[in-house]
């Protein structure tokens, strides 16, 4: 890497970030960026400008029927009936209330997001076929909190006869494996498996390995055993 290479990247960087640099020059510029952290940071700032420009472009109402055409293009022809939603508190809500679609989202987050799942291993959660929920059931949520009250993510738990849990971590800079333990009433924690965080971010789903009515929360621990964060589900 030479100063000349960096100077060249500073010349080409704006067009590269805007996506209008010719192919041969683009390849050379990207090759340098891959080797030079300083130029990578510089390009990151330029790309933020391009992203900012696109964010400023005014929104516009699409033509009538656009939504239906998009859904048809996705193979979705049965539109959901409008639902009346209400916020519950205290007691477990009637099963007829809970939005099936939200539970399906939890399922999808495990089934569909294979790129985020850890591969098969004895120490990591495994991607398993997840049955679609047959009836509407409770989806609960809790914030993942550190000891100093920073929220670093959320946990969604879908509690039914085939219960699943989805963990989303989106804060901090921790990189490494974290273990997930399910805490339960009337017993010790149960290990749920491991997943990786990169720069504080990671997503993971797993079956709930304790009876749903015993699940009280989860804790995430680093490889060294330090508790990174924990969540408690409401009783």
């Amino acid at each position: 890497m030479t100063d000349q290479d960096c100077a060249r990247l500073h010349e080409l960087g704006p067009e590269l970030a805007l996506g209008v640099l010719p192919g041969d020059q683009r390849a050379l510029a990207l090759a340098h960026v891959n080797r030079c952290p300083s130029c990578r940071d510089y390009l990151r700032e330029l790309t933020a400008v391009e992203d900012g420009l696109l964010a400023l472009v005014p929104a516009a109402e699409p033509p009538v029927g656009f939504e239906d055409r998009v859904l048809a293009g996705l193979g979705i022809t049965d539109r959901p009936a409008p639902r009346v939603r209400r916020v519950r508190s205290g007691r477990r809500a009637p099963r007829r209330w809970l939005p099936l679609a939200v539970a399906a989202a939890v399922v999808a987050l495990v089934c569909g997001t294979l790129g985020w799942m850890i591969g098969d291993s004895a120490e990591h959660g495994t991607a398993q076929a997840i049955p679609a929920p047959a009836v509407e059931s409770d989806l609960v949520r809790a914030d993942l909190m550190t000891a100093d009250h920073h929220k670093i993510g959320q946990v969604f738990a879908y509690l039914d006869k085939d219960s699943w849990m989805y963990v989303s971590v989106q804060a901090g800079r921790y990189t490494g494996s974290v273990s997930c333990e399910m805490t339960r009433s009337g017993g010790g924690p149960v290990s749920a498996g491991w997943f990786d965080l990169t720069d504080g971010r990671g997503y993971w789903g797993t079956p709930v390995r304790v009876p749903p009515d015993q699940l009280t929360g989860i804790s995430l621990k680093t490889a060294g055993g330090t508790v990174l964060a924990a969540a408690t589900f409401p009783r």
């Binding site: 960087g13 704006p14 067009e15 805007l18 996506g19 209008v20 640099l21 390009l43 990151r44 700032e45 790309t47 933020a48 992203d51 420009l53 696109l54 964010a55 472009v57 929104a59 516009a60 699409p62 033509p63 656009f66 055409r69 859904l71 293009g73 996705l74 979705i76 209400r86 519950r88 508190s89 809500a93 939005p99 099936l100 679609a101 939200v102 399906a104 989202a105 399922v107 999808a108 997001t113 790129g115 989806l139 609960v140 949520r141 914030d143 993942l144 550190t146 000891a147 989303s168 804060a171 901090g172 800079r173 921790y174 504080g200 971010r201 508790v227 964060a229 924990a230 408690t232 409401p234």
Partner: protein, 216 residues
């Protein structure tokens, strides 16, 4: 494929020995209040309710980018539809470390629209449309009732650019015109077009980097 880098992650959270969790209440979560990333992840399930919520949340922004580039609502609708189809197919590879779901979608829409333009375009852009878009990008915060601070900063920076630099930024950044196409359109040497792009981007970069530093 457009090259992207994203801003660094925020300050590290320090783990501690005795974390405290917070009960949030046993509430149901309306689909339309799910986080963007969760909605995107659920898009691939085929569930109609999630798909409707996803499309409704982002359709105006996606269509807005497409129609700004193409100027043709019919073409823009095709591009917008393709954008959602791509999002549906590639939802699992979305990486939130690289930016927001909206930024990802608008980039897809922008790339698709540029591809259409480059395959069709004898005339890069209507000068009238160019002027209109520049004014909209540089619109003052006073008219943006709930403008985000970062957007306001960039708008202000664009408004302060010399007109010729604002033009090239829009031509390149929004319409996807290369330096050579800008030079031909503006009837200026290629070197001048590239210099204007560099100068404008550097000013905008410094303004945005300075704003981020103020908030770190």
């Amino acid at each position: 494929m457009r090259f992207r880098h994203r801003s660094p992650a925020p300050a590290p959270i320090q783990p501690a020995a005795a974390p405290v969790s917070v009960d949030v209440g046993r509430i149901g979560i309306p689909v339309d209040r799910l986080p963007d990333e969760t909605l995107l992840a659920g898009l691939g399930t085929g569930d109609a309710e999630i798909a409707v919520a996803f499309v409704r949340r982002f359709q105006r922004k996606v269509f807005g980018v497409a129609v700004a580039v193409l100027g043709d609502p019919s073409l823009a609708e095709d591009v917008a539809q393709q954008t959602f189809e791509r999002a549906w197919r590639h939802a699992q590879v979305f990486d939130s470390r690289r930016g927001s779901v909206q930024a990802w979608l608008t980039t897809i829409a922008h790339n698709l629209a540029i591809d259409v333009v480059r395959s069709r375009r004898p005339t890069p852009v209507d000068p009238g449309e160019l002027g209109t878009l520049i004014r909209e990008l540089a619109d003052t915060p006073e008219r943006q009732a709930i403008a985000r601070e970062s957007s306001a900063e960039l708008r202000s920076a664009i408004a302060e650019l010399p007109p010729e630099q604002a033009r090239v930024i829009v031509m390149a950044g929004i319409y996807g015109m290369t330096g050579r196409e800008i030079a031909e359109f503006e009837n200026i040497p290629l070197g001048t077009a590239k210099t204007r792009i560099r100068s404008a981007m550097e000013k905008l970069r410094v303004r945005m980097a300075g704003r981020r530093a103020d908030h770190d």
